[in-house]
């Protein structure tokens, strides 16, 4: 067995597969690589196989086939070592309702070999990190959903893991709590922890993740940075509402923009296909202003991850509208 080093990727899976009793193929031959320092998103609808993958990577579920390493440690060959290097917050929040938040964190410290005053200090530090100092000495059953999530997150961090797994960390939270969790995840990541999180939310994958993979029916259908995936979909569209302005002179005023692919004249509007919509807007406004052309409005439409999802799976992830093929 080779010795795991800090150069090994955070997660590396080859041909990972899990078939449940009864023949459900939850995960089918997944290849995955999460680099050190990344926030990696695993995006997919209900039943796609996200949790099954995470449970395999966390040593909770033996793979039917394939292999996986976390922080360079094989999860099947050396689960004990793998457990020392990872932190896990599962989809179902696992809290003990009759303990207080502080007791839970101190026990968690103890299970990772941190004891006595060091455990008390670490628990306090984590309670501060997730903003639970006031509720720290109440039993966890009195916590709100968001507080439980935050405590669960804190409990995954006691031993400063190299790799953190978060299975749907924001599902069921209101938008404000979601933003709080995002901030915490970013802060944890900035401290050097690699993060792999699953989500059903396009926005979460887009805003939070450096790279992501879309999983559907147990297979990874596409993988890349959010920007790259969207860029593969085509270009941004800047539409300029003419509001009576002359088509030709407007077109001439804008002229050759950097990254301009083509211009389509629509009824009462110009559609400019550009590489970078937001960057182009400033230049378009400046040029129109110089020629003293007044237009009705300028808007950018960018391809979304939903468009990526649609092209990869033939379905939309969010909203339940049927999409004609």
């Amino acid at each position: 067995m080779s010795i795991a080093t800090a150069d090994d990727p955070a997660v590396e899976a080859r041909g990972l597969r899990r078939t449940f009793k009864g023949g459900v193929e939850a995960v089918r031959d997944i290849d995955l690589r999460v680099e050190r320092g990344e926030i990696f998103g695993f995006l997919g609808p209900n039943g796609a196989g996200k949790s099954t993958t995470v449970r395999m990577l966390c040593t909770l579920l033996p793979p039917t086939a394939g292999s996986a390493k976390v922080a360079g440690v094989d999860v099947v060959a050396d689960p004990a070592e793998a457990r020392r290097r990872i932190g896990v917050a599962l989809q179902e929040i696992g809290l003990d309702p009759v303990q207080t938040g502080r007791e839970l964190l101190e026990l968690q410290c103890g299970l990772y070999g941190i004891q006595g005053s060091a455990a008390r200090a670490r628990a306090q530090e984590l309670l501060e990190l997730v903003g639970l100092t006031e509720a720290a000495d109440r039993r966890t059953k009195t916590y709100s959903g968001g507080m439980k999530r935050r405590l669960d997150l804190a409990s995954a961090l006691v031993h400063s893991p190299e790799v953190l797994f978060l299975d749907e960390p924001t599902t069921g939270l209101d938008p404000a709590s979601r933003l709080t969790i995002w901030d915490e995840v970013r802060r944890i990541n900035a401290g050097g922890t690699s993060v792999m999180l699953t989500t059903q939310y396009l926005e979460e994958a887009d805003q939070l993740c450096d790279r992501l993979a879309i999983i559907d029916a147990g297979r990874i259908v596409v993988e890349g940075t959010p920007g790259r995936l969207k860029a593969q979909m085509g270009h941004d569209v800047v539409s300029v509402a003419l509001n009576g302005a002359d088509v030709e002179s407007t077109k001439a005023a804008i002229g050759e923009l950097p990254g301009l692919e083509r211009v389509v004249v629509e009824s009462e509007a110009l559609a400019l296909y550009v590489e970078d919509g937001p960057a182009s807007i400033a230049e378009i406004v400046r040029r129109l202003d110089r020629q003293r052309i007044r237009v009705g409005g300028i808007a950018v439409a960018r391809p979304s991850l939903d468009d990526v999802f649609l092209r990869s799976t033939g379905r939309r992830l969010e909203g339940d509208e049927e999409v004609a093929a």
Partner: protein, 204 residues
């Protein structure tokens, strides 16, 4: 080892904080004591030979103690824990899985001692006297019908009760005590081994 202590401490805390889980386990033994003191002792006055000059309370006390100790709640607590998902958190921690079982058992030990002490105190208050300083369950073996006797002799619990009963009624009787301890240790080890094996193979 530290893991067992930590998990045990937490389980004891749970026992203390959820008295509603322990109170029903007190109810049955105390109920039996009360019934026996009230009615059955009239049927078997203390002159009855197998009572060694004591009231039926003393004869019945070990049964109550068995009830008190055997309604251990750890198994149930563990099932709840699996349901709540906290169990997964323990499984993913770098600890020996068996320590989850031993932590629970430690709490049962504490609870068992607590509940037994209470039952003993109540029995003493009702007039049982201890020969030692502490049996077929309700009557001795030879008072049972042949079929019942065969069943009772095959049931290991009988020997535990016999041993405990000898402590109450006759004082130190090494033979009966040895069998009693042997039965307890053997079943204890056997069941613990099964639990540990189950948890080590556990995955879902």
């Amino acid at each position: 080892m530290t893991e067992v202590l930590l998990l045990g401490r937490r389980a004891v805390r749970e026992v203390i904080r959820l008295p509603e889980a322990t109170i029903p386990t007190l109810f049955i033994p105390l109920f039996f004591l009360a019934v026996n003191i009230g009615q059955v002792s009239k049927t078997f006055p203390s002159t009855t030979p197998f009572l060694h000059g004591q009231g039926y309370v003393g004869f019945q006390l070990p049964v109550s103690l068995m009830f008190a100790v055997c309604t251990a709640t750890s198994g149930l607590a563990l099932v709840t824990e699996i349901d709540l998902g906290y169990f997964d958190k323990l499984l993913v921690a770098p600890i020996r899985r068996s320590s989850i079982i031993f932590g629970r058992l430690a709490a049962d030990l504490v609870r068992g001692i607590g509940v037994s002490t209470l039952v003993l105190l109540v029995a003493l208050a009702f007039g049982a006297t201890m020969r030692s300083g502490v049996t077929p369950n309700f009557v001795p073996f030879d008072r049972l019908s042949p079929v019942m006797e065969a069943l009772a002799r095959a049931n290991p619990v009988s020997y535990v009760i016999e041993g405990l009963r000898s402590l109450v009624l006759q004082g130190w009787v090494p033979g009966k005590l040895a069998i009693c301890v042997a039965v307890i240790v053997a079943t204890g080890l056997g069941l613990t081994w099964l639990s540990v094996r189950a948890i080590e193979r556990y995955d879902r």
